[in-house]
Point group: D2
Chain length 334, copies 4
């Protein structure tokens, strides 16, 4: 590209905003025009994201600018919509929203009702609809659990094979809960601990179901989902199973075919463990047939493929870049 | 008691042997006659279990003695049976075996086949059959996952309410895998990691099913069990769910009634987290009705209620002591 | 004892209050008369210290009572003195204060200035002055770092051997900072992290110096102390070194002799690691001569020997009980 | 560059070999010619370094090739020298050795004695001698502790200000001990634990002293170094202090000036914590004047700036590339 993509970031002081900065600072085709933060305006970015000391001299801004090509909204759930109502975002600016405000089609309708009528949001899961993302003006970036669970289920849905209940347990790292302080984010409590929350009622079930039905409209069964709080900072591991008539080989082929052209999602023929994907934008999937059931394991880094990494992946697609640009990240490994 | 129970321990250098020692050293009604270890004979116990420095001057012995009332077998799976074949254990000595060698009724039959015919082993889960344990000569101490899962399911089975498939995910601490070195016990790998193993095929399913059928002979459905390796040292958390017609209140009453007279298993009306039971012999259970399903969470310390603590609980019952003697342990809390 | 010691606890909802409860619930010679908490009055203790579910039916009280023999103050630094000024504590009631308000002799003087003149506080480190504690009316319970560091240094001071600068690094678990939420207690930050704080200026240096001078009045050198925040919940490990003319054998004898009659502090002739003492009231000490320096390692559980365990040890001494009563705790081991 | 640097790697299955691969796979100016491994020849690299699944299709080779420009030796201490004796490495191939075999000048002499006479190794710490590295034929890559400690001390030595004893405590992650299984790398032991090892006698003291004397030949005092094993996987934090006459401002200027032109080492005017550098090639340094002492904190990722990252940095310098090429790594942050 002759000219770099001009990027604006709103909510840059939080976890997803920080992660986005960590990626974009080294992205060859972008230039960060501003990083907005109400609470930190005027401060160096490296005063908040202290691991960026020496990597950037940027400061947080208290003003927005129209001279950008894309705006990332890294704000809390509900705040993206408020921000858009309160600010007149020029039509030429594309929006990638990391909140849940526009993920559901009914949300998109609501957006139009509330006067945001020129903005149509496309659900930004490339493994579901890469072509739509390429031509999207606005992206609703998927949730972290939602991404990991969909990548476990979509190949089945694409073939109409989700015909019985789905049983899911999944464990998330503490960064999934953001940087606000709470009793369940206190180190003394969470260290070496494990707990279940929002069993059978996690809010991401809605976007999961929406995508499953997009591929397999007939799906009517329950998706039973038990989320756990894990005692690690990064990552989500999902195990999902349901009835499946095919063989182990059928399952492997089904998943390998589905992901063959997707550069971040890979099928492992060996068992997987969470740290294989930490600090990467990858998703690894592993399938095992047991009796009449197919178990699918999937793992992502909740802040990358589950948030800011996928947001950049979507930006790359929207601007005609190679999907992996800026996202060839060194895994932490340990 | 006028005379203390004389205790022998075989395999005292391992995790369960060490944990048994940590309990028995302060048990008011026992005296440790010997702690046998092939590899450590002659060494101080506190050279191996270094946290016992200052608490005991005992040494590991290379010889057994017949002057005991009860023998704890803290050896590997398969080795308990071998030990009993190789050693002539006097008839008056009661045996509490922490391995899996005699947990299944078919094992007990096998034991008789292999010349161990005078030894009949009772499955030592007090919440299943306390009266049988009181009069038992020999105890097969349950597995750790098996204990935690049974305590989640038995109240339902006791009322004949397990009529559909059961879905279980459960995560265990690293001590569940013993002290042998392996790639999955390496700190650099396991720290902040999570992985699934033996999905749908964990060996404890057999003893779980045996107990469920003992209470509800009609049970014929699958128990789907996904075990996880957690990145903590102690504890097991189980979530189990199945279809349940009753209400939340019905479930709470069912579980509270079942455990009313059991001093170590309690029903929590609030959500639970693993560290509530670490370093105790307790099990906490929490039930939640969601749609047509009942979810049961249960937590134990895998080395205590899941192994050595339950072994002492069984000993207490066998010798007519209060069930909690020596087991009022300070929880670690954090 | 014919009659149990009646205990009152102020500030029972915090970490040290909770730890005190975990001990006293099983203490054979005490009865908990009340547990005061402003914020939790009326709630079950097990609603706050949820690991005590099934162990106690006590509730937090909003009123104090005079029908007690001893009052434990488990409140924040500065609040113990305020509490005593605001409340008329009957003269017959002994006080054990876990805050730092009365640890320094100058504090004790201040106490008299502020109208607390009938209360004289004895610094409650049994390894320093067990006899004074036995006859004390009021105890200022030592700080956690202060306890661990003093137990590393006192044998040298007792022989007048602290003649050069002392160099100390020590790492504490997160519970040392209490249960209030802060950026440095956030799991996402603290997990797998390490940091230094209050280098050369930690407030415990004052009580350490006071005790050292009590044994070796000539001591005039710097005690250089670098405290670290560790990524674990419980425990303190100290390494301290200074010039020492004697041999390895001299050092071992010096320390062994000093602690020979102290039931909780033991000299290990092997290297030590933190988890040897977690969930116990013990301190382990290990000495190594290197060149002209003697390095002393010492480890405690910051909430037990460093706080509530030592408070109970002091209570035992004050009431003529065996020093270890109620404190034979099962180590967590792992 | 018109042609990519052809790279060979010996010992690619270990931690430093894996980390080198994670970097070089995305390095724009290198091509991996072969990755040698005795134990894994024929296997996919991603079968061993499983986090690289989807990132590379390379396999381990059992043969070396001469068609390379640089050879990285990622083998155990002692094995680099053996390898060089056993294999005839063509003169045009530059060597970067990550072991300790050639770090000391006396080693280099020995190398010549043992027939490796054409190979002269330059100690590869860019912040000490970047120009020498640029023209070096062979590099002895520094140790991890050695790197972190030198970066804390060299600015003082460069000004001749190390005139009194130096006092160092430093804590390393578990990956510093490599991937071999041992009791101190067992998760059940190391989790939430802390321990000291090789106090006053760590092997890295020799290379530290060599560099200090290179800058300040007069230095004759002790460097007292207490290494700790931390309960995290990656990173080293050092605190070092010594007498210093200047002011806080003097110290800040001294360090800032020294590192002004070094792109990976930065002086933080705020307190630092270990995770600021994890998964980066950076070193952060922070200085604090206390009384007559200057305390210097420094942090690195032991596998990157402490091993493979610095090795690539050295390669970049040797081949005339920008020092940061391929090393703009996304920090893990959490």
């Amino acid at each position: 590209m002759s000219k770099k993509i001009q990027v604006g970031i709103v909510g840059g002081a939080g976890y997803t905003g920080g992660e986005l900065l960590r990626i974009l600072i080294n992205h060859p085709d972008t230039e960060i025009a501003f990083v907005h933060s109400n609470s930190n305006a005027g401060n160096y970015i490296s005063d908040v994201h202290t691991d960026l000391l020496g990597d950037t001299d940027l400061k947080f801004a208290d003003k927005l600018s129209d001279n950008i090509d894309v705006l990332f909204l890294c704000v809390g759930h509900g705040d993206a919509k408020k921000f858009m109502v309160a600010n007149d975002i020029k039509e030429h600016i594309r929006i990638i929203d990391l909140s849940q405000d526009f993920r559901l089609k009914s949300h998109s309708d609501q957006a139009q009702d509330s006067g945001l009528k020129t903005r149509d949001f496309i659900y930004g899961l490339p493994e579901l609809q890469r072509e739509e993302i390429k031509s999207a003006q606005n992206i609703a970036n998927p949730g972290c659990f939602a991404t990991c669970i969909q990548l476990a289920l979509l190949p089945l849905a694409a073939k109409g094979l989700l015909n019985e209940e789905v049983h899911i347990s999944a464990t998330t790292g503490s960064t999934g809960a953001g940087q606000s302080l709470s009793s369940t984010s206190h180190f003394s409590w969470r260290n070496n601990n494990l707990s279940v929350y929002k069993a059978f009622g996690h809010q991401h079930l809605k976007e999961i179901t929406q995508s499953v039905k997009q591929l397999q409209n007939s799906f009517k069964k329950d998706i039973n989902f038990i989320p756990y709080r894990g005692d690690f900072a990064r990552g989500i591991m999902v195990s999902a199973y349901t009835e499946f008539e095919g063989s182990q080989e059928d399952a492997e082929k089904l998943y390998s075919d589905y992901y063959a052209l997707h550069p971040f999602t890979h099928v492992s023929d060996k068992n997987i463990d969470l740290k294989q994907v930490v600090n990467t934008n990858k998703c690894l999937v592993h399938v095992e047939k047991h009796g009449n059931k197919l178990m699918v394991l999937s793992i992502i880094d909740n802040l990358l493929k589950g948030a800011s990494g996928q947001a950049v992946q979507n930006m790359n697609l929207m601007f005609g870049l190679d999907e992996k640009t800026g996202l060839k990240l060194k895994p932490v490994g340990f």
